[in-house]
């Protein structure tokens, strides 16, 4: 009887093994709430730059892919606990995240910016147009000083667990009150309701919202890159999953060479954010 049980268990396990090896199926997690990177249409289907790019990459890799939705704040834990095999959710490559997961090479640049409501005192701040925090020059420091003064004691909204939150917490912009939200939609809602004085996120997240909602949300100050803002957006993959990592890296190379990434970026962002 015991032998029979062992035999049964063996058959069960081996049948699972064969199933997973026949179909080279991978699951890709995305948030579905960060337009134009990834979002949902009115019917609830996932759409956006990364959803289309994921499908293109899977075609190149010859994988059978399903794209699943996951709340942003549980994205990395869900990857680690094998709810899916890769993250494509506008997630920037940062040292902090690299402690827990691996990233493919970057496929797109995320340009971060502050936003305020039209008519705010901090609309149209006179600063440099872009700063890179990896190596802060004197001019860039002067820009940070302007921001520190302009937003002293102000409440700035960010999505939780983002590079934007890390940057505000780093103190490079001085003493600001940080309010964290579960989704970017909620940040946008509270910015336009006037509960927060400013917000920090991907510039396209604000311009997309302003365009679709008709609310007077405008960008102000410089765009940010480097430092806490990481090195572009890549595919998050579990540590140890080196085959999948290599597959994605090769597929991104191919998609870039074929101009697929540029084409999709222009379609969704209005400019070429590929990298």
């Amino acid at each position: 009887m015991k032998k029979l049980k062992v035999l049964g268990l063996g058959i069960l396990i081996s049948s699972f093994l064969t199933i997973s090896s026949i179909a080279d199926q991978i699951k890709i997690g995305t948030e579905g709430a960060y337009p134009p990177w990834n979002s949902k249409d009115s019917a609830g289907n996932l759409i956006g730059f990364e959803v289309e790019l994921a499908n293109e990459l899977c075609k190149i890799m010859n994988h059978d892919c399903t794209i699943v939705e996951q709340d942003w704040d549980g994205m990395i834990p869900a990857l680690v606990s094998r709810k899916f095999d890769a993250i494509m959710a506008g997630m920037s490559i940062t040292g902090e995240r690299m402690k827990t997961i691996n990233f493919s090479q970057g496929y797109a640049d995320e340009v971060a910016s502050l936003a305020v409501m039209k008519g705010s005192k901090n609309e149209g701040l006179k600063t440099m147009s872009a700063i890179n925090l990896s190596d802060v020059s004197a001019d860039e420091q002067a820009t940070l000083d302007v921001l520190t003064k302009a937003f002293k004691g102000k409440t700035i909204g960010v999505q939780t667990a983002t590079i934007h939150q890390n940057f505000l917490e780093s103190g490079l912009m001085g003493n600001v009150k940080i309010r964290t939200y579960k989704t970017q939609d909620e940040v946008n809602l509270d910015l336009s309701a006037g509960r927060i004085d400013a917000a920090l996120a991907a510039a396209v997240a604000f311009t997309d919202y302003a365009e679709k909602s008709g609310k007077g949300v405008v960008l102000t100050g410089p765009t940010f890159a480097g430092g806490d803002f990481g090195n572009g957006v890549g595919v998050g993959i579990r540590k140890g999953d080196s085959k999948l990592l290599n597959d994605f890296n090769a597929a991104i190379d191919k998609a870039r060479d074929d101009g697929i990434i540029s084409k999709l970026a222009i379609k969704h962002f209005g400019f070429d954010a590929s990298m």
Binding site: I76, P77, T160, A161, R179, K182, L189, D190, A193
Partner: protein, 225 residues
Amino acid sequence: MDIELMINSFPKLLNATLITLKLLSVSLIFGLFIGLGFAILRMNNNKLINKFAYGYSYIFRGTPLLVQIFIIYFGLGQIEYLRTTFLWVVLKEPYWCAIIAFSLNTGAYTSEILRSAFQTIKPGYLEAGRSLGIPSKIIFTKIQIPIAIKQSLPAYGNEIILMLKGTSLASTVTLMDLTGVAKYIISTTFKPVEVFIVAGGIYLFMTFIIHNVIKYLEKKYGFQT
């Protein structure tokens, strides 16, 4: 299992527990007054007043607390007219939005608990009072209310515990309560199991205290009927 993270996050979570307790106690106090008021309205003979009180408890008991918070926080925030009135001073703050939602919610349940407690008071007690010539106001404050409170203790104890767990929804409107801070720590360490175990333990401990206080009060003041 990252024991070090659990130990390190404990003081931060304990600190956030103060916000949770503040949300709980303030909402319970408001909720008790709201509940008592609506329980009295429910027993009014005027049909319209009665229906109004019933409608309130029906709506707030029949919809999820999360939906109520979202309507009060994100919903009311979208009404431009409201933002020009003095109400915005209160509604602008996530703390007060949470308090309003929690108070109205627990008020609805409390009104039902108190109403049923009032209605189970044996008519003999009131008749005894009346036959002694005690004015009805005194009968209400000295006989009906004390008995109703005793009757409703077990059910109200449950309501306190439910509300304690309900306060975790405050984290959805940017408040850094126990759940909010737990989520924050997870967002930087990516270790949900460890942090939620500690946070869950703190909730469990608070429930344990509330449960025993109510049990003690029941023993001391309650009576078997």
